[in-house]
C-alpha cells in the first residue's frame, strides 16, 4: 500500500469514527427524550388510525329538516323513505320554509326538504311532481352530495312501486367500477400522504429543534472546539434521524397493511429509494432552518410554515394539485412532498416501479442534493 493512499484511508477512518461518535451522541439525546421518540414513532400510528377510522369522503346521515305542506299518506311515505335511506336522516320538522332555514343557519341541518301542496295529487294524475330541496351551499362538497343523494332517494321513493312501468321504456344506466381501491377507502389515499406528512414533520421539526437547541445552549460552540468538520457534523446529526424516519415509514406501512389492508403492489426497491431520497431532503431542510434561525421558537414556526402546512395543504395529500391555480401548481411541484406522494400512490396502489415513477424520483434526488449543498455552505464553523 502506497503512502498517500494509506494516509487517505486513515483520514477516512478517522472521519467515519467522528461521524459515528456524533451519531451516537445524537442517539443518546433522542433516547433520553421519550417524547421525541413518541412523536417519531407513536404519533404516526395514532394519526393513521385516526385518519383511517375518522375521515371518510363518503358522507352519511346528513341531517335534513322536512316541511310537509302536502300532508297526505304519499308525502308521509316519501318522508319515511328519506328517513330510512341511511345517507340522509330527518333531523326535524318545520311548518314553514323560513322556520326550517333557521336550522340551516345554526348549522343543525344541511338541507330542507319541502314537499309542496298538491304533490300527491300530481303523482296520482300521472304528472310530474316536484320536491324542493333547499341546501346550505356554504359547504360545497356536502351540498353536492346532499343533492345527489336526495335525488336518488326521491326517485326510489316514487318509482319503486311502479317498477313494472319502467321496464317498458328505454333507460340508461350509468355503471361504475373502481380500480385499485374498490371500496373507496380514504386510507388508501391517505397512507401515502401520511407517510410524507409524518416524515416531513419528524425530519424538519426535530432536526430544527435539536440543532437550534444546541445553538441556544451554547453546546454548538463546544462542538466547534473539537476537530469535527462541518460535513461530518451534518452527517452525524442526520444519521440517527434517517434511521428514526425509516422506522416511522416501516411502522406506517405495517399498520396501514395490517389495519386497513393498504397494499404494496409495486416495486419495493423503488419505494425504498423514494423514501430515502425524501428523508434526506427533508432532514437537510430541517438542518437548514436550524442553522439559519438558531432559536427554537423561531425554528418551530419556520418549520411549521415550510414543512408541515405545505405538506398538509399543497402537496396533493388531501387536495389535488391539478385543481390549484397555476402559480401554486408551480410551488407544489417544487415541494418534495408532492413528488413523494405521487410516487408512493403509483408504487403502492397502481403497482408502478422505477420506469413509471422515474421523473418523481429524479425530482426528489435533485431536492436532496440542492438542500444538502446549501446547508453545508451555510453551516460555517465560525461563530458569527
Amino acid at each position: 500500500v502506497s503512502a498517500p493512499s494509506s494516509r487517505l484511508l486513515v483520514t477516512l477512518t478517522r472521519s467515519l469514527i467522528r461521524i459515528l461518535a456524533l451519531a451516537e451522541k445524537e442517539t443518546h439525546h433522542i433516547r433520553r427524550d421519550p417524547q421525541t421518540l413518541a412523536l417519531a414513532l407513536a404519533m404516526p400510528v395514532g394519526l393513521l388510525l385516526l385518519f383511517g377510522y375518522g375521515v371518510t369522503f363518503d358522507l352519511d346521515r346528513l341531517p335534513l329538516v322536512v316541511v310537509d305542506q302536502d300532508q297526505t299518506s304519499t308525502s308521509r311515505s316519501v318522508i319515511e323513505t328519506f328517513a330510512h335511506s341511511g345517507d340522509l336522516v330527518v333531523a326535524g320538522r318545520a311548518v314553514s320554509t323560513e322556520e326550517a332555514e333557521a336550522s340551516l343557519r345554526g348549522g343543525q341541518a344541511v338541507g330542507v326538504l319541502v314537499i309542496p301542496r298538491g304533490f300527491s295529487r300530481a303523482l296520482a294524475r300521472g304528472e310530474r311532481a316536484t320536491l324542493q330541496l333547499v341546501v346550505d351551499g356554504a359547504d360545497a362538497s356536502t351540498a353536492t352530495q346532499t343533492v345527489n343523494k336526495a335525488d336518488a332517494t326521491a326517485m326510489a321513493a316514487v318509482l319503486v312501486p311502479q317498477h313494472t312501468a319502467i321496464t317498458q321504456i328505454p333507460r340508461l344506466v350509468g355503471q361504475s367500477w373502481i380500480l385499485y381501491n374498490p371500496e373507496m377507502r380514504s386510507t388508501f389515499m391517505l397512507v401515502p400522504g401520511l407517510m410524507a406528512y409524518i416524515l416531513a414533520v419528524v425530519c424538519v421539526l426535530l432536526t430544527a429543534l435539536t440543532v437550534a437547541r444546541e445553538w441556544e445552549r451554547g453546546s454548538m460552540e463546544q462542538l466547534f472546539t473539537t476537530p469535527v468538520r462541518r460535513g461530518e457534523l451534518i452527517l452525524g446529526k442526520l444519521l440517527p434521524y434517517v434511521a428514526l424516519g425509516g422506522m416511522g415509514v416501516l411502522l406506517v406501512l405495517a399498520v396501514g397493511a395490517w389495519a386497513f389492508e393498504v397494499p404494496i403492489r409495486g416495486s419495493i426497491p423503488a419505494l425504498g429509494t423514494a423514501a430515502l431520497l425524501f428523508l434526506v431532503g427533508m432532514l437537510a431542510q430541517g438542518l437548514f432552518v436550524s442553522v439559519v434561525t438558531k432559536n427554537q421558537m423561531v425554528a418551530t414556526q419556520v418549520g411549521t410554515l415550510s414543512s408541515m402546512l405545505p405538506t398538509q395543504l399543497l402537496s396533493g395529500f388531501v387536495f389535488p394539485v391539478a385543481n390549484m391555480p397555476a402559480p401554486l401548481q408551480l410551488i407544489a411541484n417544487l415541494l418534495p412532498a408532492t413528488h413523494f406522494i405521487a410516487a408512493l400512490r403509483g408504487i403502492l396502489l397502481r403497482g408502478n416501479g422505477f420506469r413509471e415513477q422515474g421523473s418523481h424520483l429524479l425530482a426528489l434526488a435533485a431536492f436532496a442534493v440542492v438542500m444538502t449543498t446549501i446547508t453545508a455552505l451555510r453551516f460555517r464553523r465560525r461563530l458569527d
Binding site: 417524547q35 316536484t130 351551499g137 351540498a143 318509482l159 333507460r171 410554515l305
Partner: protein, 383 residues
C-alpha cells in the same frame, strides 16, 4: 389611582410585548405569516373536482353512442384526454396515472335503447383518490338518471304522437335551491376554516413554548418571587397574545373578504366575540401544555399532539358528516369545531347570536374549564 393588580397586570403584559417585539422574526411570524399563509393555502385548498382526465372507448360507433358521450362530457366534470379502441389500452392509461377515469360504451348500446331495454354506460374510475373517483362515478350515474327521464318523456310523446293517447307517467323531480353560496365555491367554506387553523398554530404553540422557555432559562422563577399574584401574572402573559390573535383575525378576515370573496352577512361583533372566546380557549390549552412539559421541545410536541386531532375532528378540512357516528361525540368538546361553525354561520349564512347559542355555550364552557385547570396546575407547580 389604578388598583394595584391592574398596574401589575399591565406591567407583565408590557414586559411580554417588549420581549416579543424585540425579536423581529417572531413578530413577523406572528403577525404577517398567518395572512400570507391564508392567501396561499386558501387558493390551494379546493375540493371542486372537475376536468377529471378521462379516456373514452366507444365500442358501439353509432350516432346514439356519440351523442350520449358528448352529453356526459358536456358538464365539465369529465374531460376527454384520449380515445382508445380497446379496453386494455384504456386501462393502461389508468395504470400509468395519465387518466383517472375510463368511459366505455359497450357494443349494442344503441340497439338496447332502440329495443326499449336498459343500456349501460360504463365508467371505470381510479379509486386512489376516493373523492375524485366518487365524483366521476356520480357524474355518470346522474347522467343516467337525467337521460332516463328524457327517454321516458320522449317515449310518452312518441306514443301520444302515434295517436295512442297520452300515456301519463308519474315522475318526481327534485328541484334543488342552493343558499348562501349558489355557485358552490369551496374557497368560501374552507377559508374561514383555515383562519381557525392558523389562529390555533399561532396561539397554542407560542404560549406553550414561551412559558417552557421561561422555565428552561429560569426567568419564570425570578418573576414568581416578585409580589405579583400568579393569576395576575397569567392574565398579563396571555393578554398580548389575545390581542395578537384578534389582530390576526381581523387581518385574515380582510384577506378572506377581499381575495376570496367571503361575504360578511352577519354581525362582525358576534364573530369577534367568538374569536375572543376561541383565542382564550386555545391560549388556555397552550398554558396547560406548558405546565406538563419541561423543555421547549416537549411543549412543541404537546402542542402538536393536541392540534392534529383537534383539526381532524373539527370539520375544517373534511365535512363533519364524514366522521363516523361513534366518533362524533368527541367533536362536541372540540373548540375548533364550535369556532368554525360560528365563523361560517355568521359570515356565510348571516346567523345571529341566538341561532349560534349552542356553539357559544360550548366554546365558553370549554374556555372556562381549560383556563381553570391550567391556572390551577400553573399555581400548584410554582407555589
Amino acid at each position: 389611582m389604578l388598583p394595584r393588580w391592574l398596574v401589575q397586570l399591565l406591567a407583565v403584559a408590557l414586559k411580554e410585548v417588549r420581549q416579543t417585539v424585540s425579536d423581529r422574526r417572531m413578530m413577523a411570524l406572528l403577525l404577517v405569516a398567518p395572512v400570507i399563509q391564508l392567501g396561499v393555502f386558501g387558493s390551494a385548498v379546493n375540493f371542486d373536482v372537475d376536468r377529471v382526465p378521462t379516456v373514452v372507448v366507444d365500442h358501439d360507433h353509432t350516432a346514439a353512442s356519440r351523442a350520449h358521450l358528448e352529453h356526459v362530457l358536456a358538464d365539465g366534470t369529465l374531460r376527454r384526454t384520449v380515445e382508445t379502441e380497446s379496453d386494455a389500452a384504456a386501462l393502461a392509461e389508468l395504470d400509468a396515472g395519465r387518466a383517472a377515469a375510463a368511459l366505455i360504451v359497450p357494443a349494442g348500446f344503441a340497439a338496447a335503447l332502440a329495443r326499449g331495454e336498459a343500456a349501460t354506460l360504463q365508467v371505470v374510475v381510479d379509486g386512489t383518490d376516493p373523492n375524485r373517483g366518487s365524483i366521476a362515478a356520480a357524474a355518470v350515474a346522474r347522467y343516467g338518471r337525467v337521460a332516463t327521464r328524457e327517454l321516458a318523456r320522449g317515449a310518452a310523446r312518441a306514443r301520444a304522437g302515434e295517436g295512442l293517447g297520452a300515456s301519463p307517467r308519474a315522475d318526481v323531480e327534485l328541484v334543488p335551491r342552493v343558499l348562501y353560496n349558489p355557485r358552490l365555491r369551496t374557497s368560501r367554506y374552507v377559508v374561514p376554516g383555515i383562519l381557525a387553523l392558523l389562529l390555533l398554530v399561532v396561539t397554542v404553540i407560542v404560549t406553550a413554548m414561551g412559558l417552557a422557555r421561561e422555565r428552561e432559562t429560569g426567568t419564570l422563577e425570578q418573576v414568581l418571587v416578585t409580589p405579583i399574584g400568579s393569576t395576575t401574572l397569567l392574565l398579563g402573559k396571555l393578554l398580548p397574545y389575545v390581542l395578537i390573535g384578534l389582530f390576526d383575525f381581523v387581518l385574515g378576515l380582510a384577506v378572506a373578504a377581499w381575495a376570496f370573496d367571503v361575504p360578511i352577512r352577519g354581525s362582525v361583533g358576534v364573530v369577534l366575540l367568538g374569536t375572543l372566546a376561541y383565542v382564550t380557549c386555545s391560549l388556555g390549552i397552550g398554558l396547560l401544555i406548558s405546565t406538563v412539559s419541561l423543555t421547549q421541545q416537549q411543549a412543541f410536541i404537546g402542542g402538536f399532539l393536541f392540534m392534529l386531532p383537534a383539526l381532524l375532528l373539527s370539520g375544517v378540512l373534511t365535512p363533519l358528516w364524514g366522521i363516523p357516528e361513534w366518533l362524533r361525540p368527541v367533536t362536541l368538546v372540540n373548540p375548533v369545531r364550535h369556532y368554525v361553525e360560528i365563523v361560517r354561520g355568521v359570515l356565510l349564512r348571516g346567523a345571529t347570536f341566538s341561532e349560534l347559542q349552542v356553539q357559544f355555550a360550548a366554546l365558553g364552557a370549554t374556555a372556562a374549564a381549560v383556563l381553570t385547570v391550567a391556572s390551577w396546575r400553573f399555581k400548584r407547580g410554582w407555589s
